[in-house]
């Protein structure tokens, strides 16, 4: 559990971060979202003490971060940044193994961990281990950057706009990868972004920041359905709200018995996908399949009814 308590950062008279208090449960993804200058990056950087808080404190598993030397603290916390920040003169393997090397892991253990992570990110170790960052595509560089942050099995991983430099298609893939890896490893992640879409897609909890203050902290559904103020509503976007809400709900929630024409959608797909399929092909219902077998259908009316009820 990560507990942030009344943490404040002041530059002169400006409160970059103003008495933010929040808690992140172990094994969850918390996305901090805000415009530039909202203090979200400063908040993140105070957690691993790249910025020293003016007041307040952060506790990881009950232990204050102020109790450890900053560089030792940082070795326990994964850190991934926009533009990956890989070392150009290190191979992929040495980049990923950088933190374990700092922690003096034995060589064989580092090598095994590097291969494990490369496999996890669908990169063949034999092919990529000895490459240099300049020989990778943007998406591969970003994956290596995240793998490096995960290498020492940190208690907590901080990610500062990790997908900011990627094009939309690769970004969507990287987000899927992150969710998959999070599910596999169960790590605690705090991620900063300016993109509400990304926040809703990735976050178990979303924290909205503006002018150094934490405006709202809740599940994506709460943020969409009950925005705390006009700023949060603006971030979510009025037009997009129903669609964003539907994108959070899997088909399995609304599946009912009965048949429907056309191609089936997987049960994990969202209501937004089903709505799009209905509109695009002029159907009133779509079949739902699970493990290759059709298990029922989701109707257009049910989707509309669901979008009207705000949870």
């Amino acid at each position: 559990m990560i507990e942030i308590e009344r943490i404040t950062k002041t530059y002169g008279d400006v409160h970059a971060v103003d008495a933010v208090t929040m808690t992140a449960q172990t094994g969850t993804i918390t996305v901090i979202v805000g415009t530039s200058g909202s203090g979200k990056t400063t908040l993140l950087r105070m957690i691993n003490r790249l910025e020293e808080p003016t007041s307040g404190e952060v506790r990881i598993k009950g232990q204050s971060t102020l109790a450890t030397e900053p560089h030792l603290l940082r070795r326990r916390i994964g850190y991934a940044i926009q533009g990956h920040g890989l070392f150009p003169h290190y191979t992929v393997a040495r980049n990923i193994g950088a933190v374990p090397e700092l922690l003096n892991w034995p060589k064989a253990k580092i090598r095994a961990r590097v291969d494990e992570l490369l496999n996890l990110f669908s990169m063949d170790p034999a092919e990529f281990r000895h490459r240099y960052p300049a020989e990778l595509s943007g998406g591969q560089q970003q994956r290596v950057g995240v793998a490096r942050a995960l290498a020492s099995r940190p208690d907590l991983m901080l990610m500062d706009e990790p997908f900011g430099a990627l094009d939309p298609i690769i970004r969507a893939r990287a987000q899927d990868d992150l969710r998959r890896i999070h599910k596999a490893l169960g790590s605690t992640i705090m991620l900063v972004t300016h993109d509400m879409e990304e926040a809703i897609r990735l976050g178990d909890r979303v924290a909205v920041m503006d002018e150094g203050k934490l405006i709202q902290h809740g599940t994506p559904a709460e943020i969409i359905a009950q925005p705390a103020n006009g700023f949060v509503a603006d971030m979510v976007g009025d037009v997009e709200r129903p669609l964003r809400l539907l994108s959070l709900i899997p088909l399995s929630d609304l599946v009912e018995d009965g048949a429907a024409p056309g191609d089936a959608l997987p049960a994990e797909a969202s209501l937004r996908d089903a709505l799009a399929a209905c509109l695009w092909t002029g159907r009133n219902a779509v079949p739902v399949e699970h493990d290759g077998a059709v298990v029922g259908r989701v109707t257009f009316d049910a989707i509309r009814a669901r979008a009207q009820i705000h949870p």
Binding site: L50, H71, R74, G85, F87, P88, H89, L102, R131, Y132
Partner: protein
């Protein structure tokens, strides 16, 4: 070629085709002409390289055949030396070779092998005595011991000052890299030092170190005096500091900011960041600084001869005083060769230290 009655008087020019019997000079002339012709087409650098090598061979042949033929019966004090035509051809052929090499872009190892081959060939030719009748080599023959001594002195001046400059310059560069204010003060001061003309610098050292030698007890015992090795050495060190420090600063600043941020974020201490990230990424730039210093010092060390610092400059200034061109050449040629060889070796090192991804390709 030119022949003179003795080492002082001006020589009298002799055309290549009058050097010796036609049968002796013809192969040489033919080789030079063929070499130049081969060098003309732009598209085939290998051909151009072969042409320049052939041409150089031809020149060598002419020297080897011409010198004994000219000296034959010319008297004991007569001297033969290559004249303007030779030097021009040498320059043209070397330019051809350099140009061909640039086009061929050989790897660092190939360049190292080539340099070794050229030096080996040079040593073989000089050692074989085939050219020993040339005036420069006659000057050498009469000064063998002094030449060896000057070589050691010259190397000592150039490499020693480089080592001392590096020993002071690296820490200073690292400190400047860390503190912007120190950098703002240090670099202009060193630049100012660099603008002092070398003769004036050597001149300034005389009263300065003379005073130190006189007033600090024991200083004279370790060789600190107004003239000699110490002031020359110190002046070279001072000249070396700017390239070393500024290239260290530039090299350390070359690391991408994201990589440094990541290094900090993953828990590297400032020292680990310096050793693992900033230094390896800046190494090519830092080595380039050392290359500048080395080549510059090999050249400047000649002037050290003027204040008794020793080295090849001794011959150059003796030659100037006696208007003996051959003696000047005896100082100048090895200086040029040394500077060229050092530059090539340092370039190879810079390449080897260069971006790792190029090495693996």
């Amino acid at each position: 070629m030119s022949i003179a009655a003795n080492r002082i008087v001006a020589g009298e020019g002799v055309m290549a085709w009058h050097l010796a019997a036609p049968s002796a000079v013809l192969p040489g002339i033919a080789a030079v002409v063929a070499g130049l012709l081969l060098g003309l087409p732009r598209a085939w650098p290998r051909l151009r390289f072969a042409g320049s090598a052939l041409g150089l061979g031809g020149l060598l042949w002419l020297l080897m055949r011409g010198a004994p033929a000219l000296l034959d019966g010319a008297g004991d004090y007569a001297r033969v030396s290559p004249a303007i035509g030779f030097w021009c051809l040498l320059l043209v052929l070397m330019l051809l070779m350099a140009d061909a090499l640039v086009q061929m872009t050989p790897g660092p190892l190939a360049r190292g092998a080539l340099l070794a081959a050229v030096l080996g060939a040079l040593a073989l030719i000089l050692g074989s005595g085939a050219l020993s009748q040339l005036s420069v080599l006659q000057e050498f023959a009469s000064r063998k011991a002094a030449f060896a001594d000057a070589t050691l002195r010259h190397l000592g001046l150039a490499f020693g000052s480089l080592a001392v400059a590096a020993a002071f310059g690296f820490p200073l560069g690292i400190a400047c890299h860390r503190r912007a204010r120190l950098r703002g003060a240090t670099l202009p001061a060193l630049s100012l030092l660099q603008t002092i003309p070398s003769l004036a610098m050597f001149g300034l050292m005389i009263p300065l170190l003379g005073w130190v030698g006189d007033s600090v007890p024991g200083a004279q015992a370790i060789g600190i005096a107004g003239i000699g090795f110490a002031p020359a050495f110190l002046a070279l060190v001072l000249y070396s500091l700017l390239p070393v420090v500024s290239n260290t600063v530039a090299g350390l600043a070359a690391a991408p900011p994201e990589a440094l941020e990541a290094a900090r974020g993953m828990g590297m201490t400032p020292r680990q960041r310096l050793i693992r990230v900033e230094f390896p990424l800046g190494l090519p730039v830092i080595l380039t600084g050392l290359r500048i210093v080395l080549v510059q010092n090999i050249g400047l060390a000649v002037i050290a001869g003027l204040i008794g610092g020793g080295g090849y400059g001794t011959f150059v200034f003796q030659g100037l005083n006696q208007t003996a061109t051959d003696l000047i050449l005896l100082g100048a040629l090895p200086t040029v060769a040394l500077a060229l060889a050092s530059a090539i070796v340092m370039d190879i090192l810079v390449d080897l230290a260069g971006p790792a991804q190029r090495k693996s390709a």
